[in-house]
């Protein structure tokens, strides 16, 4: 029956392809991770050109460059540069700094130990970016202990200045 539909050599080739397919797929499009920045930097050679998953907070600024952009994401230990198409950045609203907690994003992309396109930078060329946790404005409550310390020190400084003026006058008196 099969012989009628397919010639024998095609059938054998099909079986071979089906048999090795999972192994081939694992080698070409395997996505490994998520990895920490420490792991990626420490074992950069073994992850080179591999598709990896990396999670972290967007820090600094999203820097557009033509149809692409650079964004640096920090996983708490190190920040790594992500190079991606502009359309992938549209969901990123917050970048972390003193007043802001940046969006936490998950990046799927190709890791480069020394990217030939970017002068040897260790970076990830993103294929997909997903917002894991939206960022927000950080609240910094004024520390009351610091205010108390400031007042105390201001009083001490005034006393020190009075002492200095007094000593100056005394020296002038003695000089006369």
């Amino acid at each position: 029956m099969i012989k009628k539909i397919l010639p024998l050599h095609c059938f054998i080739a099909g079986v071979v392809v089906l048999f090795f397919c999972p192994a081939l797929l694992a080698q070409t499009v395997s996505i490994t991770g998520p990895f920490s920045s420490g792991e990626l930097i420490e074992h950069a050679k073994s992850h080179d050109k591999q598709e990896v998953v990396f999670k972290g907070e967007v820090v600094g600024e999203v820097m557009p460059r033509g149809n692409f952009f650079w964004v640096n994401i920090n996983d708490g230990a190190n920040a790594i540069g992500i190079w991606a198409e502009k359309k992938l950045a549209s969901d990123i609203k917050y970048a972390g700094d003193y007043k802001t907690t940046g969006d936490v994003i998950e990046v799927v992309g190709v890791f480069n130990r020394a990217c030939p396109e970017h002068g040897g930078d260790l970076d990830i060329h993103a294929r997909a970016i997903k917002i894991i946790k939206a960022g927000n404005e950080r609240e910094h409550k004024i520390n009351k202990d610091k205010i108390k310390l400031t007042i105390t020190l201001s009083i001490i400084l005034c006393l020190t200045l009075i002492l200095q003026v007094y000593k100056l006058l005394l020296r002038k008196k003695l000089a006369k």
């Binding site: 050679k45 600094g60 557009p64 460059r65 640096n72 920090n74 700094d97 910094h140 520390n143 020190l153």
Partner: protein
Amino acid sequence: MILKPHAENFKIIGFYLGKILVGLAIFECIPLILAVCLKEFNPALDFFIGTLITLILGFSLQALFFSKKFMNWTEGLSIASISWLAAMFLSAVPLYLSGHWASYLDACFETMSGLATTGLTLSQDLDHLSFSHNLWRHLIMFIGGQGIVIIALSFFAKGFSGAFKMYVGEARDEKIMPNVIDTSRFIWLVSMVYFFLGTLSLGASGILNGMKPFTSFFHGACVFMAAFDTGGFTPQSQNILYYHSFSYELITIVIMLLGAVNFKLHYAVWTGKRKEMFKNIETVTLFFAVLTTLLITAYGLKLTNTYPGAVMLFRKGFYQLISGHTGTGYSTIYARQFINEWGNLALVGVIFAMALGGATCSTTGAIKMLRIGVIFKALFQDIKKIMLPEKAIVVQKFHHIKEIFLDDKLARVSLMITLLYLLLYLFGALIGMCFGYPFLDSLFESTSAAANVGLSCGITQVGMPAALKLTYIFQMWIGRLEFISVFTLFGIIVSAIKGKR
């Protein structure tokens, strides 16, 4: 017999130290104003507290140790060395209060690294640090690069008698102008002109690279201060890698090289003597030193095939090398990449570059080009002496702003300082090895600290032993001041304990 110092000696030291601290407090007002403008209220309080403590100490010292006497060499050199320690402790107050440093020791490490223009950092979560604290980190680098005493001299020109002795204490034994006050002001003039040009270039590059105008100029100013003063701090945790920009790297290379040049050479070029650039022993030695270390590093990188391609080799190999050679410590790679990817030969090339340094009377640390040049000239002189007839008189000259005859004293001083630096590099490496770090890693980090460079191979981190942090602080301090003033301070302490009336 060692003579015990008199109370008057300590009074003079205390009085002038007080004046320098008031100068430091004035500088601390700059980040305070920025914090208020940007509504960073907690950081503003940190700077208010820091300024108040510095002012209280400064005024108290002046009131308690009032003196009108002319300072001698011992006092001048001691003031220079002690003022750096005092500045380290006091500049660390606002940083520690920010909560971004795990301990006061870490904050002190950061400020000594800043003042000594090293650039090693122990900050935590730097990407969330306030603008004002970041400005302070870079400003202390600028203060240290120019010299704490130079700042005080610029502010209080009339109040300092014997200013030259303190000026020498900061490893600046060459006067550009006949008067040391004018020299200080010229150094400021040069720095400010380059500051505006550098900030403008970096700011424009930042905007072209997609940064917002305010942050690009803020980063531009900070990066300029750290590059010109061959420091190495940046506002973000990734150092120069954050910008992912070739133009940014090129501009910082130019600024780093300008910072590594002798202020006397700047003066010569500014006054139209452009040929001096090609004749000066320091620039000639720097050219050959960069060439030699570049060949070693590039060959090492080729062996490991770390950066195939000329652009990569330039942006990674040459950039780290020039950053190390000028004593800046700017980096476009991660610290651990040095150890994991560069290979031993390339690492040795960078260690050599860091150990040699830039020009004298510049903002760099390390052995410096004038000394290397003089040592080689002395070597050639000795070889000539051996080869020529006994009665022949061999005269060796070199060009450093003017023609100078090489004498034995100059050669001896150069060799002595070089030897002391080599011992300092080895000392730090030994301490690192005592804590279990491999030899090459320890030597790399130790040389970086002692030569005030700031490149790291990963040893410098919050979790490293406190004793190693103290070792690096000591190396940064003594390395920046070039030994003599620190030895003088030790001498005065020893004579106070063991001396006789």
